[in-house]
């Protein structure tokens, strides 16, 4: 039995949306105090729609795969929808994660929320 589902391995081996958006207007970086994984999310928002999203991740297979899946799930979505993304939904979309790896998928949810908050703060300023 493999550690991860085929979907996790696919997103881990061929992560979607990896990299940096130079003119991002929302950036969020979160770390997992428990295991040390760190995720950085870059958003390009136009008319409250996520036009583009990229990520950088320092972490395990499940952290990288959930970053990749989460970015796929919010790309093209309105901010209000993206705010509703849960780590559970990310894990489900990946055909599940081992129990002790669930905390790694929390990072993706938190990184997106943090990037959207950053976008909103910038808009106010």
């Amino acid at each position: 039995m493999a550690l991860y589902s085929e979907k996790v391995m696919d997103h881990f081996r061929n992560p979607r949306n990896v990299g940096v958006i130079e003119d991002a207007n929302g950036i969020g970086e979160v770390g997992n105090a428990k295991c040390g994984d760190i995720m950085k999310m870059y958003l390009k928002v136009e008319d409250d729609i996520i036009k583009d999203v990229k990520f950088e991740t320092f972490g395990c297979g499940s952290a990288i795969a959930s970053s990749s899946m989460a970015t796929e799930m919010i790309k093209g979505q309105p901010l209000s929808e993206a705010m509703k993304l849960t780590n559970k939904a990310v894990a489900e979309a990946l055909d599940g994660l081992p129990d002790y790896k669930m905390h790694c998928s929390v990072l993706a949810e938190e990184a997106i929320k943090s990037a959207i908050e950053d976008y909103e703060k910038r808009k106010e300023a």
């Binding site: 081996r13 990896v18 760190i38 950088e56 395990c60 297979g61």
Partner: protein
Amino acid sequence: MIYADNAATTKMSEAAVNTMVSVMTENYGNPSSLYTFGQRAREILEKAREDIALAIGATPKEIYFTSGGSESDNQAIRSAAEIGRLKGKKHIISTAFEHHAVLHTLEKLEKEGFEVTLLPVHENGLVVTSELEAAIREDTCLVTVMYANNEIGTIQPIKEIGKICREKNVLFHTDAVQAMGHIPVNVVTDDVDMLSASAHKFHGPKGVGFLYVKKGIRLTNIIEGGAQERGKRAGTENVAGIAAAAVALKEAVSKLSVYGETVTKKRDRLIAGLSEIPHSALNGDKDLRLPGNVNFCFEGIEGESLLLLLDDKGIQASSGSACTSGSLDPSHVLLAIGRVHDVAHGSLRLTIDESTSDEDVEYIIKSVKETVEYLRSFSPVWRNLVEGKAKFIL
């Protein structure tokens, strides 16, 4: 496939497999049965005991077969603690980077009123004997220091520790699970009172180990029941496994010097090659380490993703990363040698043996270099380091 995780377990030698199969099919009797067929199994068992005793400089009566390294460690420490308790001595000395079979047993003893001193192992992963000597007290009943560490491979000054313990009249146990069959071990010249070993680390079967206990030291049972192992370890003996363990150890010991020389050369080439990766560091002393052990930290990456990608390239290795542990904590061994969490997260252990070819070594170096570079290319930690927003540690 390049199997570079021999510290986790080893492939059984052909001779060991053959021995095991032949005992299981032809001599499957119970050594406790009095008829000839049972007594033939007893002969095999006792021959294995003799061979193992001979390989480590012990006498056959000083060898007790167990289910492996963990059980041997548990029984050795429990026994020494019991001897201490009867004399009112309840202080034990060990090190911060022992295997959990030792550390968790010591934690239990602490709850039972024992006091445990864990010696530091410093940046090079070695116990300083003067610090050990200074830690010994009137009420010290046991010193337990591993022969060689399972993660970073550092070889402890066992002879010197043995001498100190002898002079101070304190029992000395060593967990030699990683050393046995890889470097010379002799219970007499090393001055050890108790020693643990496990067959699956020296090309024998899993679930078989032994405990050497010097004559005159009273063992406490962990497993109660029948009178096997002179009443000190109940349960029908794993005759086939034990016979195979003896064959494997004899084989390993007979080629020890050639093994040491050739594997050390490959190890040093691996260390030199991986040292070319910027912001990396070898864990543990460069020379006082097991012939096949290479352990590195690479800054800015995480170990599990490195392992998964190396697996895709056909290389099996291991890591002390928090994400691989299942416990969310990075390796206690790497923390004990002063690696901070971030850096310990990016560790890689390669444990090679004589079957690793020179081409394998070059392929490993190339693959690790590529993979570390790839993972760094989208690591926010690496970006911060490169952009000067954080300071490089390595």
